[in-house]
Symmetry: C2
């Protein structure tokens, strides 16, 4: 119960920074009531839909660095959650935002943070519905819960992979893990421009919402890659009771990642297990493979076949000669 | 991106502690998928309902103390959110839980925390739908988002107070603020038993869900008292464009609070402005006053008329002789 220490008080922050983000969602009452509403007839949800809920948190010093631009922190927070909606083929509706603010944080930082949210709200079609702001003696900590919608009963689950499916990913894999190394100056073999590209891929994921909403009917299991390709494929394999194989030579790489790998082939482990890709990972039966590749071309999002699903259990990574690659680690653990 | 430091890893914690809390809500898929679903037909929501969303956070050292029992921290986290649902007359459905865990926290603490949630889930009829667990170099920090439901369009708002209404509260006021003083040994004039009672009222609020769901049709403005009676009544007055008066002699006090006030009359300021009451505050037109008092008797929850609403602005507190009491502070500010 510490006394007021901030420059703008709680209510001024709501009026100045947060209420504008809720404009366009009248059921948030300008953040001037205690709760937000989601009307199910004629409101944010359409007839025949059901809701999808998700929350994800970021902590300074763990998930982002103190000198990361506030706009990018805001966008990463929103996008890691949107990436989960994308993987479930959901349409974003609203989000709730929890801010735990250290006394050292100034209003200018919060203004840039709000500007980052505003930009992404426009880009991804989501609005702020409510939240909570509290003081913390610790580092800046942020939690965000998103609400999305899908056609009722048309759920895209982890547990739906079937023997005979192929494994697909969107975009390129490993950029974020290498980007984190580039930021800390431990990545050799890339140009300054390639380093910036990789770093940006770490700091600003691109939720594949358009692709996700078009996967329904074409795929079996889906999820987004946050803990690393191998680790997340293990989640699908375990949930589905199947085995998975990754053909490492097929894993799509950006030119920057390819340059880094050319210099140090051992980086393949960071690419496959490093996490923070926020690309989509899905399995599909053979009859839909051509449609998926065409869909990727239509949307301008690379869609690449990287492996197969069979009966059994576990995930194996094979090199181009078909030999198994042993990985010391398979995925990011959160603690 | 720190390596694993915990005793149970993330997935073991989900299986052992969190998945059991989602049992009974099949649309959470045992917390083994990426998201939770809320089905709107035949699921958690009934026909003709709409949703109510709210999130609230607690940080160690700010909202609870390091030696507070884990069960009580869990229950306070859930209950401060349920209290908002109560104030809006909502039926709880599910919640999302974000845990930011310092490395020093042991599994035994988390087990007791989960036990506290389990007890309250039973008592208040809500289930865990999902969440996120991350590491923090700072203090333990917790955020919880609740989803409730109300009959569509029958919203209880802050902005609905009308001149001629009376102001009502549930329960007794000021216990939590005095309880916080009792815990720190700065409250005189109460017995050890009274001190324990007050301290418990601070640590374990009672969300007035049954009362809240019965207020619809009888009241105008509603909210719960978290920032202090005067401060929260200011929120209602400002949102509604009206003036409010509190008759301080009518404010319901517990025997323990009365004992403390007898010893030190200046404590009335803590009672009126101290916060953390988590009682309901509402305004109602004269024709429903008898029904509200009868409802309180039926439910065994004190319902007390404590003031009036008139045209104008601002909140005044009057002593039993009708003289205005000047308060140095009117409500808790979060930072």
């Amino acid at each position: 119960m510490s006394p007021a220490r901030h420059r703008l008080d709680e209510f001024a922050l709501i009026r100045k920074l947060w209420a504008p983000l809720a404009r366009g969602f009248p059921d948030a009452y300008g953040l001037a009531d205690d709760v937000a509403y989601v009307a199910l007839e004629g409101g944010g949800v359409r007839a025949g839909e059901e809701l999808v809920l998700k929350c994800d948190a970021l902590v300074e010093g763990v998930h982002f660095l103190p000198d990361d631009p506030a706009e990018l922190v805001a966008q990463k927070l929103l996008r890691v959650n949107l990436s989960d909606l994308a993987a479930k083929g959901a349409r974003p509706i609203v989000y709730l935002l929890t801010l735990m603010l250290p006394a050292s944080l100034d209003d200018a930082w919060l203004e840039r943070f709000a500007a980052g949210l505003a930009a992404d709200q426009n880009e991804f079609g989501i609005l702020l519905a409510g939240g909570d702001t509290v003081a913390t003696p610790g580092p800046l900590a942020l939690s965000l819960a998103v609400v999305g919608a899908i056609p009722a009963g048309r759920r895209l689950l982890r547990a739906a992979a079937k023997a005979g499916d192929a494994v697909f990913v969107s975009g390129t894999i490993g950029d974020a893990a290498l980007g984190l190394m580039a930021r800390s100056g431990t990545l050799a073999g890339v140009t300054a421009e390639e380093g910036r590209f990789l770093s940006e891929r770490y700091r600003l994921p691109r939720p594949r919402l358009s692709l996700g909403q078009r996967l329904r009917g074409l795929v079996h299991a889906t999820m987004d890659i946050s803990d690393g390709l191998i680790g997340d494929l293990e989640h699908i394999a375990e949930a589905s009771g199947v085995a998975a194989t990754i053909e490492v030579g097929s894993v799509p790489l950006s030119p920057a990642a390819r340059a880094a790998l050319t210099r140090d082939a051992r980086l393949i482990e960071s690419v496959l297990a490093g996490g923070d890709d926020y690309e989509l990972l899905f399995t599909a039966p053979p009859r839909h493979h051509d449609a998926l590749l065409a869909l990727g071309r239509e949307l301008g999002v690379p869609v690449t076949r990287v492996g197969t699903i069979a009966s059994g259990s576990g995930v194996r990574a094979l090199d181009p000669e078909g030999r198994e690659i042993k990985l010391a680690r398979t995925g990011y653990r959160h603690f």
